[in-house]
Symmetry: C2
Subunit: 220 residues, 2 copies
């Protein structure tokens, strides 16, 4: 699956094969770069789309939440899902509204998740921590039995997936490049950059040094 | 609607009323701060979640895409949709895995969109440009009749909506605050910040100054 069902953001006239990158490496790169997924499920014909932290664990995408969460119960019960991760990389300024666009990387995974338990669930919780908070696991208390009982963890196989990527500047209409009114309009790309800011300690940590692994978080 | 169906990211044990903010002002603030929405539709029981640029136009959320897009055709045909906008504001580092979390703002809009045409469609296209590329509209060529014919624009009323917001530091388990092993673990929030980088001109614009409105884009 490479580009179903189309219609990704400002794709007007751009739904081209060169945006459909099927390689597993590209899929993993997008999933490993993102922090939040948008998870879709259907309830009585109504779609629901919810943001969740996630992690890739080998060839699975793992999610977790409260056992009281309707979304998690739907997923654990085998409801078809679509999990989409999008990184917005910049705005593309063309000389026309029509060719204005965005640069982005997006991965979509379709399928049915399965609930994890035991060691497999613990490995998924660790994978979530390692992905979202790299280096943190050894400093914090692992989940207790009671906390484990209140948590539901599922894995969605990376089987039916698509990746779409747009990079670079605008693809202006050739006529606009020689138009007396618009040829001189500045055109190009304005990158969008995400970064971690200065850590804010809670009161009891005010005098403690920020952990080295946190200082090294450059990703976002 | 304030918190259906629950399960938003690391909400384990946190699905509390204080995260459900129902005011219209909060909804508008989240929608006006975001750039990409994740749009869910259902096709034969399978949810699809796709990223799209969007804008708020009064009490509607507007989307546009190619007339050839399956998603846009679904929306224009009156398929139930869920449009979710999420801004990730930071990582929350607690002393336990269970209380580790994220700070975020998310808005979810459920409903059925209607296709726009004529002046209403043009106003929506302008609203999209003004939201995604503030200040740009007067510098660029508006959509031609042919481009308009290739574009489908829909409006989703902001009627059935929810907003959830998490801010601040960790809510540690009191026992962890006095635990000999974990009490000294640094805890707090690491903000995540997005900003626009240095504009990259396409070759023909290399000698032109970057427009003032672009230099002023601080939002993201």
């Amino acid at each position: 699956m490479t580009s179903r069902p189309g219609g990704t953001e400002r794709t007007r006239g751009r739904r081209l094969a060169d945006r459909a990158v099927t390689e597993t490496a590209a899929l993993h790169a997008v999933l490993d770069a993102g922090l939040v997924a948008h998870v879709g499920v259907v309830d009585d014909g109504q779609p629901f789309v919810l943001p969740m932290g996630y992690a890739r664990m080998g060839d699975d995408l793992v999610l977790h939440g409260s056992t009281g969460s309707r979304l998690m119960r739907c997923l654990a019960a085998g409801a078809p899902t679509c999990v989409t991760v999008t990184l917005l990389d910049g705005m593309v300024l063309a000389r026309s509204a029509f060719e204005s666009s965005m640069n982005y990387r997006t991965a979509m995974v379709l399928g049915v998740a399965r609930r994890l338990d035991g060691d497999e669930e613990l490995a998924a919780l660790r994978a979530l921590s390692d992905h979202l908070l790299p280096g943190r696991w050894d400093d914090i208390r692992p989940p207790s039995a009671k906390e484990r009982a209140a948590t539901m963890t599922v894995a969605l196989p990376l089987a039916e997936c698509s990746v779409k990527i747009r990079t670079g500047g605008p693809d202006d209409d050739p006529a606009d490049l020689v138009d007396p009114m618009y040829a001189r309009t500045w055109a190009g790309e304005v990158p969008l950059e995400a970064s971690f800011g200065t850590p804010v300690p809670e009161p009891a940590s005010a005098a403690s040094p920020v952990p080295r692994y946190v200082s090294q978080w450059g990703r976002a």
